[in-house]
Amino acid sequence: MYVKAIPEKCCGCLFCETVCSLWHWNVINKYKSGIRVHKKSVIEDIPSVCSHGNLCNFECIEACKFDAMKKKNGTVYVDYKNCTGCRACEKACPLNAVWIHEKKAYKCDLCGGDPQCVKFCSQNALVMEV
């Protein structure tokens, strides 16, 4: 299960970033969101979000030397007590779906099965792939 992004539909409103950081951290901070939208041109709004191994080979888990990147029931998540913010996961991820903010890694954790970004995407640019 993962969140699939359809850039052709993304309108660049960043509402996904907003609700993600609010739901997880009770604050608004785009760098603490598990999804980021990067604008490449007028028509290219590109959401970056983890595929949880579906479109990659768990490069982040492989790269982490501190046992901070873990997998449970098909979901890759950050174990914050171990994370040092060394950026190894960020560099290893082929999808640009992990980033470091204030020495901690941030990425999608699928919100316990009900991804908020999918729930609040008015353009259906984010969908669940099972």
């Binding site: 309108c11 409103c13 609010l22 007028v42 609040f120 008015s122």
Partner: protein, 606 residues
């Protein structure tokens, strides 16, 4: 303070100094944010007498209170300065991301004063504030500028000007992520400061007073919005969705420099024609859950463009008699890249076309023929304006100054109120909006009151049975709507959500800042903001006589549903006095001491 950045940043481009001060909580609660902060700090900081292009003028940027709160469609940021078109109050509100970046950097207000000695850009990275050379960006488009700065600096949000701002075109715009602070020449003020761009990155959390409550409110309003009829209409066709209705059902779609109120050649500029052909997806402002923007792809372009909005379909379409949407799209793109306000641009080109067709100016003056409907001429004139080349150097001053320079009776073709070219509402058949054009603090404007919807449909909020063809009882209506809209601009909420939220923000304010405010309290703040803007204008030399409507508004609409309707000079005077009365101002439009005491702002006139 919850939902605020908590600080004010003041940058002096002359000395290179930046000063960070905490935001006074009392000021925050009295003015909310965005428009309120603009009204307060413009009055506190800017000498209203200075020229718009003086280093002593300031450019102020303030995100709305709800920017970075999660409130759906609450992502608007306001820009303030002295107007390059009339020297009075100017504000322009946009949906770009710079406000969120500023708040995350810890700033609710950015004040830029002085003038850099060479073309520069301002870089704000949380507490690090730098003024860097932009000489390598000279002449670059808004988009090239943003792209190059991002390439050099990283993940910054960039607001930039194009060649028009550099050349002090009096209706130059500021662009941020394809969203524009367009009106009143904010881009020219930036150009006068030798400031090519502002790049901001903020890393801090925006704290929310009651996150769980905010989440539930987001859930509630998200559902309402995606099930609202406007979600589909605007989603498919954008803001131009009601163009045909304005034409056929109301006959108030200004055409060929306000000669007519119906555009016979409208078929292909109607989004029902072009959206299925050219629009490939929606584009949203920050924090929007019902986007109305359109990404537009045409094979004639290398890439894609953003647009085209309703106002632009009028200004660069019907007002210039352009029937081919391809030309409107190209003109829109030129405006966005060179950094020109599309509304004023179309007003100016339509004016020039009118002068040409009436023999006031000829091919020798212009360097080319410019008849209504000539798309190539439209594109050519826009470029001349941006570069201030030939006739473009005169037109770059807006229709008021241009008509004075041209003389030979050109004034009667110049459609403006207080120097600003009006938007797409033929107010001869929407009389409340005629008053709104006169009363707006920045010149002819549809957004300070937003009363067009109320006038055209006859009902909104607490008003019903409003007659658009009557000039009776418009004073209180427009004053009420201006107060209402000032709240929206202070909170940073999109005006296209006004039918959904009305002024029911108490729950969202409690969730975001931790304090409820009901409709009455918000309207009181809105009134305070409107009065402060007016005080600034009075200090800048505003006179009642300046508010008069252009000559063309006194000529009846020749055809269509509103045929025969116009605003007489008596009606003009009556509506204005009615408005002053509703505002508690005297017959010359000067606020009474009693009113200012009531609003708690008499300190601003002492």
């Amino acid at each position: 303070m919850f939902c605020y950045g908590g600080n004010i940043l003041k940058v002096d481009l002359t000395t290179g100094e930046g000063i960070k001060k905490p935001l006074d909580e009392k000021v925050a609660l009295r003015y909310l944010g965005g428009d309120g902060f603009g009204a307060y700090f413009m009055n506190k900081i800017v000498n209203p007498k200075v020229d718009a292009f003086s280093p002593d003028n300031a450019l102020i940027i303030a995100p709305g209170l709800f920017v970075g709160s999660g409130v759906p469609t609450g992502g608007k940021t306001a820009f303030f300065s002295k107007s390059a078109l009339n020297g009075g109050w100017n504000e322009s509100v946009m949906g770009g991301q710079i406000g969120l970046a500023l708040k995350q950097a810890g700033y609710d207000v950015l004040i830029i004063e002085g003038k850099s000695d060479k073309l520069s850009y301002l870089l704000i990275d949380d507490n690090n504030v730098l003024i860097k050379s932009a000489e390598h960006l000279q002449g670059n488009t808004t988009r090239e500028t943003a792209e190059k700065i991002k390439k050099d600096e990283g993940d910054f949000i960039v607001a930039s000007i194009g060649i028009a701002g550099e050349n002090l075109v009096r209706f130059a715009s500021i662009d941020c992520e394809e969203r524009q602070a367009g009106r009143g020449g904010m881009g020219a003020v930036m150009g006068s400061k030798n400031l090519k761009a502002i790049a901001v990155r903020g890393n801090n959390d925006i704290k929310i007073a009651k996150p769980d409550k905010m989440y539930r409110l987001i859930e509630k309003y998200y559902e309402i919005m995606i099930n609202h009829p406007s979600f589909n209409d605007d989603g498919k066709y954008g803001t131009g969705e009601f163009l045909e209705w304005m034409n056929n059902e109301r006959g108030t779609f200004p055409t060929r420099n306000w000669r007519e109120g119906v555009f016979d050649g409208r078929k292909e500029i109607d989004p029902y024609y072009w959206a299925p052909r050219y629009a490939i997806k929606n584009k949203g402002c920050l924090q929007c859950t019902k986007p109305c923007g359109k990404a537009f792809v045409m094979k004639e372009f290398k890439g894609a463009i953003d647009g085209i909005e309703y106002e632009t379909l009028f200004s660069l379409g019907s007002n210039c008699g352009i029937e081919k949407v391809e030309y409107v799209a190209k003109a829109n793109e030129i405006c966005d890249l060179y950094g020109i306000d599309t509304i004023s641009a179309g007003g100016v080109v339509g004016f020039a076309m009118d002068l040409y067709e009436n023999g006031v100016i000829g091919k020798d003056d212009l360097g080319l023929e410019i008849k209504f409907g000539d798309g190539e001429a439209l594109l050519e004139i826009l470029k001349k304006i941006a570069y201030r080349d030939g006739i473009g150097d005169i037109l770059a001053n807006g229709v008021r100054i241009a008509s004075q320079k041209i003389g030979k009776g050109a004034e009667k073709y110049a459609v403006h109120v207080r120097g600003m070219e009006p938007p797409a509402y033929d107010v001869r058949g929407i009389k409340g909006m005629a008053l709104a054009f006169m009363s707006s603090p920045r010149g002819a404007c549809h957004l300070r009151s937003g009363a067009y919807a109320l006038e055209l449909t006859g009902k909104f909020w607490k008003y019903e049975g409003v007659d658009r063809l009557s000039s009776e009882n418009k004073g209180k209506e427009i004053a009420d709507m201006e107060n209402f809209m000032a709240v929206y601009d202070a909170l940073g909420v999109c005006k296209f959500s006004r039918g959904i939220f009305l002024l029911n923000f108490d729950e969202m304010l409690e969730a975001s800042i931790g304090k409820k405010m009901g409709e009455d309290e918000l309207l009181f703040i809105g009134e305070r903001i409107c009065n402060l803007k007016h005080i600034f204008n009075i200090k800048a030399g505003w006179k009642k006589e300046d508010c008069k409507l252009p000559d063309k508004i006194h000529i009846p609409i020749p055809e269509g549903v509103s045929k025969g309707s116009y605003v007489s000079r008596e009606e003009e005077e009556k509506m204005l006095l009615d408005y002053f009365n509703a505002r508690g101002w005297d017959k010359n439009g000067i606020p009474t001491r009693k009113k200012l005491e009531e609003l708690g702002i008499k300190e601003f006139i002492e």
